[in-house]
């Protein structure tokens, strides 16, 4: 792959052990500014763990992670400041159930970005507006549909103006009819130039929006390339097997 834009994410030689389990076996992931990298692979292949190593929710056993020029694994790095630059969206939304949508979005703006309350609320409302949920600002997560909850979770992340967004199966726990609204928000984000790493099974979205598809299996990147090439003509047998299996659905 030819990389012209500066790299936002540079993860090199990532290994991760959980006790005796060797989950990541030397993964390199470089993501250029404004690039959308789509990660696929069988369940248990280490996709989530890789994402979580990028913002150090997991501590890699070996390797280096630079995000926006910051060494994420350096003990001297203020990890809480660094994480402001990396938004993350989870399969299970993980909204704070005791707060309103606006409360969810403004918490880190106030506590981490240290914005005064009114400024945080203005930014929070703008973020909710961007995901089409300004009118739900006062609702609690229990009063939102799954699709709305996930969009609030996206608003919570983008309100901090991150340099890169990580999505871990953002639509996997949604009813099929709600998937589209979340993908639409991700598409808009992508068009605004956000750098994104997306773990997902939404192959249609990958074809339409991804710059690069990365196929992982058993803790390694087996193959990567433009979506058309990976989906139409995968080179590796394991990739072929995986692609043909998901395309049967």
């Amino acid at each position: 792959m030819i990389v012209e834009a500066p790299l936002i994410v540079e993860a090199r030689g990532i290994h991760k052990h959980f006790g005796a389990l060797h989950v990541l076996k030397g993964v390199d992931l470089l993501v250029a500014e404004r690039e959308l990298v789509f990660v696929i692979g069988p369940s248990g292949s280490g996709k989530s763990t890789l994402l979580r190593c990028l913002n150090r929710l997991e501590e890699p056993s070996a390797g280096s992670v630079m995000v926006d020029g910051i060494d994420m694994l350096d003990r001297r790095t203020d990890i809480n400041r660094a994480r402001q630059r990396i938004g993350m969206v989870f399969q299970s939304f993980n909204l704070y159930p005791h707060m309103t949508a606006l409360g969810n979005v403004t918490l880190a703006l106030r506590k981490v970005a240290q914005k005064p309350r009114d400024e945080a609320e203005a930014l929070g409302l703008a973020a909710l507006d961007r995901v089409g949920l300004r009118d739900r600002a006062g609702h609690t997560p229990g009063q939102l549909s799954g699709g709305q909850a996930q969009r609030v979770a996206i608003a919570r992340a983008i309100a901090l103006e991150p340099r890169v967004m990580l999505f871990d199966e953002p639509t996997s726990s949604l009813d099929p009819e709600l998937v589209g609204s979340v993908l639409a928000v991700m598409r808009e984000l992508r068009e605004s130039g956000m750098t994104m790493v997306v773990v997902s099974h939404e192959m249609g979205f990958a074809r339409a929006a991804a710059d690069r598809v990365v196929f992982m299996d058993d803790g390694l990147i087996v193959e990567q390339g433009p979506p058309a090439a990976i989906f139409a003509a995968p080179q590796q047998a394991r990739t072929q097997a995986f692609i043909s299996q998901i395309q049967r659905h």
């Binding site: 402001q84 989870f90 901090l160």
Partner: protein, 226 residues
């Protein structure tokens, strides 16, 4: 005298009750003082310990779990007696009131620490991860995201445990605290008549029925729904 009259004369003797009700009233004041002190200090200490436990300092946590288990295993009366009769041997001479307060507060601390801790661990891991991923520190996440959810889970069991331990104030009578039961028993031995005990029982009902009713309301009010 019929049997019924004898019964009334023995257990509800108007003359004895008229003489001793001020003592019982005084006992009620002492019981309330003791209960309030126990509840405030016991729950505050239990909450503090649960928060410290969340820091995950291994040796500290082993020690904490050991102490909490010991306090939960010992009968409260044994702890009262240990403090009241044991501490003087190291030249600290606590009054009966202080001994009872300390003992019951320690027991409530131990139980409430376990309840708070159960609440903290019941909050899904994803809540921690979401908060930390936005840059909140460990402490900010614990206090701003996890504890508000944990407290909600905590309130029903904490309420019933607190009521149970507060009733233990009656144990203070063993170490000469003039709370309700203490006042009632000395009135019984002075009057050779058990009527003051009936007054004492009535005093407990007056104090605790509202607490139990309020506890039931709290428990249903805070039953967790997502």
């Amino acid at each position: 005298m019929t049997g019924w009259e004898r019964f009334l004369d023995t257990f509800f003797n108007a003359r004895v009750m008229a003489k001793y009700w001020p003592d019982i009233l005084y006992g009620m004041v002492v019981t309330v003082e003791l209960a309030v002190l126990v509840v405030i200090s016991g729950i505050a200490a239990g909450l503090a310990l649960a928060l410290l436990r969340a820091l995950g300092i291994r040796v500290f946590n082993w020690l904490l779990i050991f102490v909490v288990d010991v306090l939960r295993a010992l009968p409260p009366l044994v702890i009262i007696v240990l403090i009241y009769f044991g501490l003087p041997s190291v030249d600290i001479v606590p009054s009966g009131f202080v001994s009872t307060w300390l003992a019951l507060a320690l027991v409530l601390m131990a139980f409430s620490e376990e309840i708070f801790w159960a609440g903290i661990t019941a909050v899904p891991r994803g809540q921690w991860e979401a908060a930390r991923s936005t840059g909140l520190s460990f402490i900010q996440t614990l206090l701003g995201v996890v504890m508000p959810q944990a407290l909600r889970l905590t309130i029903p069991p904490l309420t019933s445990r607190t009521i149970a331990i507060t009733k233990g104030t009656a144990l203070g009578s063993v170490v000469a605290v003039s709370e309700i039961l203490g006042q009632a028993s000395s009135a019984v031995s002075n009057s050779y008549n058990p009527s003051p005990l009936m007054l004492g029982a009535a005093a407990y009902l007056v104090l605790f029925i509202p607490v139990v009713v309020a506890g039931r309301w709290v428990e249903t009010r805070f039953a967790w729904k997502r």
